[in-house]
Each structure stands twice: as structure tokens, then as C-alpha cells.
């Protein structure tokens, strides 16, 4: 269960950024960019799934997550915690344990045969659900998971991610329009600050990363990716 401590928000974000850097979950590659699912070319990539292999870090993360959820939303505002396939599932399990709530997981697509299930686990009609994923980029996957949950008669009121890109200005609004509030522990800006404070990468690399974070679509267009985000 939750340890009942409520660290300062800034301390949480800085600590999580340091954790992600410590386990080499952060990758910067301006010369050979990555292609995101949207087609956006990017010099940054983060692998939050690595966190599951570090018990002390993941335990602290879940305490941080519980503290943010309790503080921002309340102690009795959810009936269930649902994990989005695939990376959201372990984090949902640990967070459900911290919050003392039932857990489900949501597939990206129904299985397509048998009972054609998209949601596994018991979920009551009208249940208030906290949707969990490892990260949030533009919120697209969360909208699809929330739609699947809504088809059962339950509703996603909030979504939690360990990491939020915070480079697409309309993401919180898109989620809010679907009835979801977004909660997270750290963003690229927290990573960037720690990298600068601790001189973690060459200055030129950090400059390129900052250029991308301040104008992701323009950076993408100049590096072989899309020049416009799909609406």
C-alpha cells in the first residue's frame, strides 16, 4: 500500500528524470533520428519499460504516482485502475496495489476470435477508471483505450503516465475533451534540466534536443519526418 508521503512536485520530477538517466532509458541521437508512430522524426527516445527491471526505482515511482493521484484527484475517486497494452500493464498493477483498487488491462484491439475480449478483468458498469500507460506523447493511444473502456459502460476520468512528452501543446486539451485529466511524474523539460545541470551530454547534442523540444514539427520536417501532425 501507499507510504502516505507527499513529496514536493518539483522534487518528484527531478528525481524521476535522474532515475531515467541513471538506468540509460534516455536516448539522444540527432544524426540518426527516430521515427515516432505518428511519423514525426525525433532526436529523442525514452524507454520507460526499462523501469520494470529496477525494483527500488519502480517502487519509488509508484509511491510518487499514488501521491500525485491522491493529491490532485482525491482518495476515493476511482473504482479501478486499467493498464494499456503493453507497457501500461505492469505500472497499472503496481499502482492499483498502491491505491488499493481492482485492476484490468485493455488490449489495443479485440482479440478477434473466441470471446473477442478487449478488456481483461472484471469491470463494473459505471466504474470510474484511472487509465495507466508508461508514457504520453500526443494522447492518441489513451483516447482509443478510453473508448474501449467506455463501451463496457465504465468511464476513464483520469489518466496517469510515468512520463509525458509535453511538446504537443494540445495534448491536455485533447484528453480533456474526451473527459480525461492527465497526470504524470516527469517530462522532457525535466530531463533537459538535469542534463544541463549535470553536463550529461555534449553541448551540441543538448542544443539539438532543445531545438526539437521547442519545435518538434519543424525539426521533424528538416530531418526526413512529417511536416504536419495529423488531426
Amino acid at each position: 500500500m501507499f507510504s502516505n508521503t507527499f513529496p514536493d512536485r518539483a522534487v518528484i520530477s527531478e528525481t524521476v528524470a535522474k532515475m531515467l538517466l541513471e538506468i540509460n532509458a534516455v536516448h539522444f541521437r540527432a544524426d540518426q533520428p527516430f521515427t515516432f508512430t505518428s511519423g514525426l522524426a525525433s532526436p529523442v527516445y525514452i524507454d520507460c519499460r526499462k523501469l520494470i527491471s529496477y525494483p527500488r526505482i519502480r517502487s519509488a515511482l509508484m509511491d510518487f504516482g499514488a501521491s500525485i493521484i491522491f493529491r490532485n484527484v482525491g482518495f476515493e475517486q476511482f473504482d479501478a485502475v486499467a493498464g494499456g497494452e503493453t507497457a501500461g500493464i505492469p505500472f497499472a498493477a503496481w499502482l492499483a496495489d498502491r491505491l488499493g483498487l481492482p485492476m484490468q488491462y485493455v488490449r489495443k484491439k479485440p482479440k478477434g476470435f473466441g470471446r473477442d475480449a478487449q478488456i481483461e478483468g472484471a469491470l463494473a458498469e459505471g466504474a470510474r477508471v484511472l487509465l495507466v500507460e508508461d508514457l504520453t506523447t500526443d494522447g492518441g493511444s489513451k483516447l482509443k483505450f478510453a473508448e474501449a473502456i467506455a463501451r463496457t459502460g465504465a468511464r476513464v476520468t483520469d489518466t496517469f503516465a510515468v512520463f509525458y512528452y509535453d511538446i504537443f501543446p494540445d495534448t491536455p486539451e485533447k484528453l480533456a475533451a474526451a473527459g480525461m485529466r492527465l497526470h504524470y511524474l516527469a517530462t522532457w523539460w525535466d530531463i533537459l534540466k538535469v542534463c544541463k545541470d549535470e553536463n550529461r551530454f555534449p553541448t551540441a547534442t543538448i542544443a539539438e534536443v532543445e531545438l526539437f523540444l521547442n519545435g518538434p514539427v519543424a525539426w521533424s520536417a528538416n530531418h526526413g519526418g512529417i511536416s504536419e501532425l495529423a488531426r
Binding site: 536516448h27 541521437r29 540518426q32 533520428p33 527516430f34 521515427t35 515516432f36 508512430t37 505518428s38 511519423g39 514525426l40 522524426a41 527516445y45 524507454d47 519499460r49 503493453t86 507497457a87 489495443k108 492518441g140 530531418h223 526526413g224 519526418g225 512529417i226 495529423a230
Partner: protein, 111 residues
């Protein structure tokens, strides 16, 4: 004949979402184009393989370009055979496309 499917991938940035849309579009055409069903199913499988390989996984711009060349080659092969080719040419093209697809599965470890 099937060029619009790969053009849509390119226009949408060549990421996972673009291939997912391609796989769905190819499957949707099967009902309307029964004579092209086998070719469209192979194209759908090829696009879906990309989705399963790179969804939640890092994909570099170079890898994305290689993958796009791969599916473009396969679609061109099938398109040329199905646009007025003989039954034998269509069968040959499908066998070659299936072989390439199976080869890619072996290379990337997909099941």
C-alpha cells in the same frame, strides 16, 4: 493498381500509424475486389508485420526507409502481375511476395 496503399504510407510519414492504416485499407478493399484478394491480404500482412515490429519499439529514420523500400517493392511486384498479367504471373508474384514476407519474419524474429 495497389500504389495508393504505399503512397498513403509515405504521405502519412511512414510511422506505425501509417502502416496500421495501410493494413486496414488493404483488408477493406478485399471485399470490393475479390479478384485481388490474395494480393491485398499479402499487402495487409506486410503492413501489419511492420506495426507489430515497431509499435512501442524504437524505429530509426534509416530503418523506416528500408521498411518502406521493402513494402514498396512487394506492392510493385504484385501490382505489375495483377494489372493484366496471366494467372501464372499472378501466382508467381504471390509466391515471391510470400517468400519475401516469410524472409522478413525470420530476420526480425516475428512469429
Amino acid at each position: 493498381m495497389f500504389d495508393s496503399l504505399v503512397k498513403a504510407i509515405s504521405d502519412a510519414g511512414g510511422g506505425v500509424r501509417a502502416y496500421d492504416a495501410c493494413a486496414r485499407a488493404a483488408r477493406a478493399r478485399i471485399a470490393k475486389e475479390p479478384d485481388n484478394s490474395a494480393a491485398l491480404l499479402l499487402i495487409s500482412y506486410a503492413a501489419q508485420r511492420f506495426v507489430e515490429s515497431y509499435d512501442d519499439q524504437p524505429l530509426t529514420v534509416e530503418e523506416a526507409a528500408e521498411e518502406f523500400n521493402h513494402i514498396t517493392g512487394m506492392v510493385t511486384l504484385l501490382g505489375n502481375a495483377f494489372a493484366g498479367g496471366s494467372a501464372e504471373a499472378k501466382l508467381d508474384a504471390m509466391n515471391e511476395a510470400a517468400r519475401r514476407l516469410a524472409d522478413t519474419h525470420r530476420t526480425d524474429g516475428s512469429n
